[in-house]
């Protein structure tokens, strides 16, 4: 029983990342009808926002340590971050320690801006073109974004540790220990997902967007500028992907191709959930994450060697062939 619970917990953190990315992909697809292959790159940019903030906060200057000399007899120098100068020793160190959660504040405006620029500058011109062209241009954009990040941050993974207080393990149930940060990540994901759903469900803006998703033309005829709202939704989707990336840093050190790694799987998740269905994307994300973690147990890998590597793809193939609309796909959305 404990083992099963542990596997479910293990699946939840990866599943949260899948669900968040898939949610963003579906938001973009459902509103604008664009298949965005650059979404993984947005996830990666989010993660690198945390890296950037961490570097900014640790910017430091050298000061002499009074009364101490190094082995050459020169006065000993120590790096002192500017934040500790400004806020005092304790607060400054705490700020640096909490840089990953703080990066959320940086990520939201950055990602909204990135999303806005992307939609207005590039995607806008591709609504009328075939899906293959959209895939290709966003694929090209993903390469470009990834290479830019690689140029500035190098090709090696960069550690972004979680705050000290959240980095240990916790006793979830008697006999089951689990890293705290993964629990935090899951709660964070749940919060964002419910936030997005609440926004769509309970605000006037969200209502208009949902109407636009159902029938864009009619909403336009009612005199509502739906394009503007959809542009915002693109920015929102980018922000969701970015937030998924920021908080994922402590689980897996960010590197420039992490987006590509997640992208393929998130597309599979979207397809399994049903193109254009938001609840489907979230459900499929968590389901596949949990399934993957069950497939990685020793029992599964000894019975069916390699099952942990291919389970997601296998499920996707079966779903696509037997239930073409996915788990919760609507009728008439990209039927073939």
């Amino acid at each position: 029983m404990d083992a099963i619970l542990l596997q479910i917990l293990n699946g939840l953190d990866k599943g949260s990342a899948y669900a968040l990315i898939a949610l963003g992909l579906t938001l973009i697809f459902g509103t604008l009808g664009v298949v965005n292959f650059a979404h993984g790159a947005l996830f990666m940019i989010g993660a690198f926002c945390a890296v950037t903030l961490q570097r900014l906060l640790s910017l430091s200057h050298q000061v002499e340590v009074p009364g101490q000399v190094d082995f050459l007899g020169n006065p000993l120098m120590a790096d002192v971050p500017y934040v500790t100068d400004w806020f005092g020793e304790a607060t400054g160190n705490a700020i640096i320690d909490w840089s990953v959660p703080l990066a959320i504040l940086l990520t939201i405006p950055v990602m909204l801006l990135v999303g806005y620029v992307m939609e207005r500058g590039l995607i806008k011109h591709f609504y009328k073109r075939p899906h293959a062209d959209q895939i290709l241009v966003t694929f090209g954009l993903a390469i470009v974004l990834q290479e830019i990040v690689k140029y500035y941050y190098g090709a090696n993974p960069i550690q972004t540790p979680a705050p000290e207080a959240l980095s240990g393990v916790a006793q979830v149930l008697p006999g089951v220990v689990y890293p705290i940060w993964r629990i935090v990540y899951f709660c964070f994901a749940a919060l964002i997902i419910s936030g997005v759903f609440a926004f769509l469900q309970f605000t006037t803006f969200g209502m208009v967007v949902r109407a636009g998703m159902a029938d864009r033309e009619t909403v336009g005829l009612l005199g509502i500028d739906i394009d503007k709202r959809f542009t915002f939704m693109f920015g929102l989707a980018a922000a969701v992907a970015g937030l998924a990336g920021v908080m994922y840093g402590p689980i897996n050190a960010p590197n420039y191709h992490m987006g590509m790694d997640f992208l393929v799987l998130s597309f599979v998740v979207v397809v399994v959930g049903g193109m254009g269905s938001l609840p489907g994307a979230v459900l499929a994300g968590f389901l596949l994450g949990i399934l993957e973690s069950f497939a990685s147990t020793t029992w599964a890998t000894t019975t069916l060697p390699g099952i942990n590597q291919i389970i997601i793809y296998l499920v996707a193939i079966i779903i696509l062939l037997t239930r073409p609309r996915g788990l919760m796909g609507r009728k008439g959305v990209m039927e073939d």
Binding site: F139, Y151, I310, L320, D336
Partner: protein, 403 residues
Amino acid sequence: MLGLNKKDTNLLLVVLALTMLAPFILNPFPTDSGLAQFNAGYPDLMQRFAIFGIFAIGFNILFGLTGYLSFGHAAFLGVGSYSAVWMFKLLSMNILPAIILSVIIAGLFALVIGYVSLRRSGIYFSILTLAFAQMSFALAYSVLTPVTNGETGLQLTLSDPRILGSSAAADGSIPVTNLFGLEMRSAWDMAVGPWTFTFSAGYYFCAIVLLVAFYLSIRIFRSPFGMMLRAIKSNQTRLNYTGLNPKPYTLAAFVISGMYAGLAGGLMAAMDPLAGAERMQWTASGEVVLMTILGGAGTLIGPVLGAGMIKYFENILSKINESVLHGWFAFMPDGLEDFFVAIVYPFVGKGWHLTLGILFMLVVIFLPGGLVEGGQRIGAAFRRKGKKAGGAEAEAAKQQPGE
């Protein structure tokens, strides 16, 4: 000639001339000059031009004609490589049986994957092929280690049986790949003044295979079968209404393009007898998509051009480092020199993928027909300038899709 019309014959002759004279054409700079780094006339790179040309031609038969965008074609290339290396291990170092086997195995593999994937179309087809390719990659990397040798990649060893050949060469080393005794790595250097031209057996073998592959693709493009594939691309629903089942045709196109990929994989192993799982990764599939689109999907010559261009830039741009750049801009005043180096540097060397990505985006945005369309537009602009009266003719030329 050979059942081609005049235009296609000319195209084939141009490609023939280009491939046969490639060691000269690609080596325009004297060996000891500063520009020698732009030379591409060395066997390894020329072989890659030909091999990826074949790969892209095959991909184009599927994507260019039927419009089905496969994101998993590298799987077939990988399978071809593995089967060729196994042939070298078990049978003999002759490349002919190895290549034949890799084509057959890749074809069978494509038949299975295609049969399943082609039940859906559009984005779903792309995702299905992607899923299959990633599955093959994951399996080759982990569970199938007895067959694929996992992370290390499949290599030849001295203890391989090679029942029709010998396990070891006379001097105790691993024998090299050959075609009935003609070693693939043998090469002949010709020195003309400051120039050195290398003629490699391996390259000429690849070039001949490329020519055959190119000829076959022309025949496919012009055949009733090719017309059928185009009909599938332009309107599948209408095709269904006329009582035709497009399924067998798309499946045939998928298998043919899979066999082309297998051929490319087999050739790759024939030139360098090892095979690794990374050849099957989806980024490798993405690369062939880039090549085809960059050159011009649906055109005959486009994919070959695209493959050549990407491989050329991959090799040449990635060799340029900071000191080479400083050498170029040395004639400028210091500050200006550093400025230009700083601007150009991100795009060359390790950053050449950035150039590739930007180029690719520009092509998709402004030139959906790829380089071929670009060439046609330039040609049409000149013709229009040449004779204003013959505008109608230029219009007619523009109506013809690029082929």
